[in-house]
Symmetry: C2
């Protein structure tokens, strides 16, 4: 199979991991030809570890070098849409690390640019490759269990210390990250939530800032979700709890799914509980429940799986697991949670993107992070995210 | 041991159960001498099943008969404080079924009357006798695990069909019950919540009325709780879900407790995670967690346990498990959830009891239930609650 000439912009935690996977031959469809990072220590790391790979200071220079057919953007959040649009203009295929961006207005522009360019646009939603979540999606979406009635995701196993936030002056700041646990830790879960259950259309949320840490952004979040069909739910997350919980429960008309400890349990009914509710003559009806641990294919290729799929989509038309354009969905949920918390009222779809941005910008303006980390240049802080 | 001469007002589901327990000798401290019920079928049942027990139509007549040292009130909710105060005036010891009443203003008056009378006042919080909850309370309250950080109780295993609500014209109505799942199904959990974790001091809640059933009152509730120390939590309940969940999770500084399927699991740390958060040099610190299923004494005497304790308190001064005066706490949480849902804003302690009552009365005035079920007489509907 032909290989794609591949570039990586930002070789911090995530980018360097991708580089090593490719160098180790785990993504045979990609040939790593170039990397970029503004930080000297990371470029030195590249020199030492990535033989025959061209090293740039600036992502823009990598994009303009003509060396790459495709690239991944693994810089701080605000830069994802900026660099993606530069690459689309050069007809380079792009995969973006999560989140797609910090505010949907910018991501919407990126999506439009992607469509106009005609190149492939992907997003690193590696959790979509987890067999448990794939199976959960299949069971929810194939209709056999009927409509969703309730969604509870308690995802509090993101414990981070103060020293984590102190490790980079962009961390935990509105200017540097544009948010806290929602933007940094939860993009996967917010994507899976909508990928499996569809988009909530109204949210009232309580995002507490600096609750467990000395940071500007949220580290304790409870969101109440309402769905178009009347289902309700909660999404609860935190970087202060330990040991945390990761328990994702979806109640449907004909059964309940619980995903906890990498195990998916199905509680299945013969008939819809909505029908039984309306027609049973018994006040305390207790229809039989069939409990089973759901078998999956067990495959969980994560980042390598997404990179291979992205490359094979370009090379041989394999269906894309995570279209870049879908990155806006989880981010929309994140933006709704923030906006509702700021305004102290429910927020419905479609959200007022200008209002969100003006509220975000108020917080960026008051941020203690270096201002340049929030501007339109690649941050000089890559390497620590 | 001396026996108390005992009366039961309201011999529906609960009252008849208590009567049979006493007749079977399960509560040796009590001698059942009188019952009252306005419904002919229930009095006939008493005639057939309760030999040598005096039968009254009216609770008031039982109270005034001079036959009883102590009695239990097992009528519809609104009547609990009314009858209790009549009994206090006659120096009769009283145990009330849950909830203590429908609105705290009325319950506060009942509590004041109880104190003034000097008799014993208890409340049927039989779940306080469950060894798992007793152990959970001990572990939270003895301080070894530090302060509470998060409380999540998903208690959705209250499935009821439409025919349940249709079985009495007071059911599911503001005039008849004064609320739905919060007043009828959840008083035990709302009491345990505050008994184990203390009172939340602010609540914003979403009590959806008639969401799963054709009823006036709430059958789907999500409440966001804030505690004085900064802890947060959710309380989620419904009579529409099936199979439901009963999962009570409390995160503390030095461990986490999860109560599910009658099993209590403790995840214990050596040090406070708050200290580790502030002092660890590791950004991703993962201190060791010791997991154990907590052993309890296994005793769970429920209603009989509460009745025996109530009697033994009067007879020999045994400490009371569930003081009547504490019934106001869970009801306050319930009233806060309703008031917040009605006003669509957070409600803090102390709640505005007059505002609550005026909002409740608006709903009672528009209720389709027979007006007399909400008045100051014993409802003619006992026997079906």
């Amino acid at each position: 199979m032909k290989q794609l000439k591949f570039g990586i912009i930002g070789i911090g935690n995530m980018g360097s991991g991708h580089a090593l996977s490719i160098m180790a031959g785990k993504v045979p469809e990609l040939n790593l030809v170039a990397v970029a990072d503004r930080r000297e220590t990371r470029r030195q790391w590249a020199q030492d570890n990535l033989p025959n790979v061209k090293i740039f200071n600036e992502g823009t220079d990598l994009i303009n070098s003509g060396l790459c057919d495709a690239l991944i953007i693994a810089t701080p959040h605000y830069q994802h849409p900026v660099l993606a649009q530069e690459a689309f203009a050069k007809k380079i295929n792009v995969i973006s690390e999560k989140p797609a961006g910090v505010y949907t207005k910018q991501v919407r522009e990126m999506n439009e640019a992607a469509e106009k360019s005609g190149v492939t646009f992907g997003v690193m939603f590696n959790q979509r490759t987890n067999s448990v979540y794939r199976k959960m999606r299949e069971l929810v979406q194939n209709g056999e269990l009927g409509e969703i009635m309730r969604v509870n995701w308690i995802i509090t196993d993101w414990f981070r210390t103060q020293s984590y936030y102190d490790s980079g002056d962009w961390r935990g700041t509105w200017a540097g990250e544009g948010g806290g646990v929602l933007l940094n830790q939860c993009p996967h879960q917010l994507d899976l939530l909508q990928w499996i259950c569809g988009m909530p259309n109204e949210i009232q949320a309580f995002a507490l800032t600096g609750h467990w840490h000395d940071i500007e952004v949220e580290d304790d979040v409870t969101a109440y979700l309402k769905y178009p069909n009347g289902a309700t739910g909660v999404f609860i997350t935190s970087t202060g709890d330990y040991p945390g919980t990761n328990r994702f429960e979806v109640s449907l008309e004909k059964g309940k799914l619980i995903c906890e400890n990498d195990k998916l349990t199905l509680y299945k009914l013969d008939d819809s509980i909505r029908t039984i509710c309306k027609t049973s003559k018994e006040g305390f009806a207790r229809p039989e429940v069939y409990v089973e641990e759901v078998e999956t294919d067990g495959e969980n290729p994560q980042h390598v799986g997404i990179l291979r799929n992205f490359a094979r989509h370009i090379l041989i038309g394999e269906p894309l697991i995570a279209r870049g354009e879908e990155g806006i969905n989880g981010l929309t949920v994140s933006n709704m949670i923030h906006l509702s918390s700021w305004l102290k009222r429910p927020v419905s779809l479609p959200i007022d993107e200008d209002l969100f941005l003006s509220e975000l910008n108020k917080r960026r303006a008051g941020s203690k992070a270096k201002k340049e980390t929030g501007t339109d240049t690649t941050a000089n802080l890559s390497g620590t995210y």
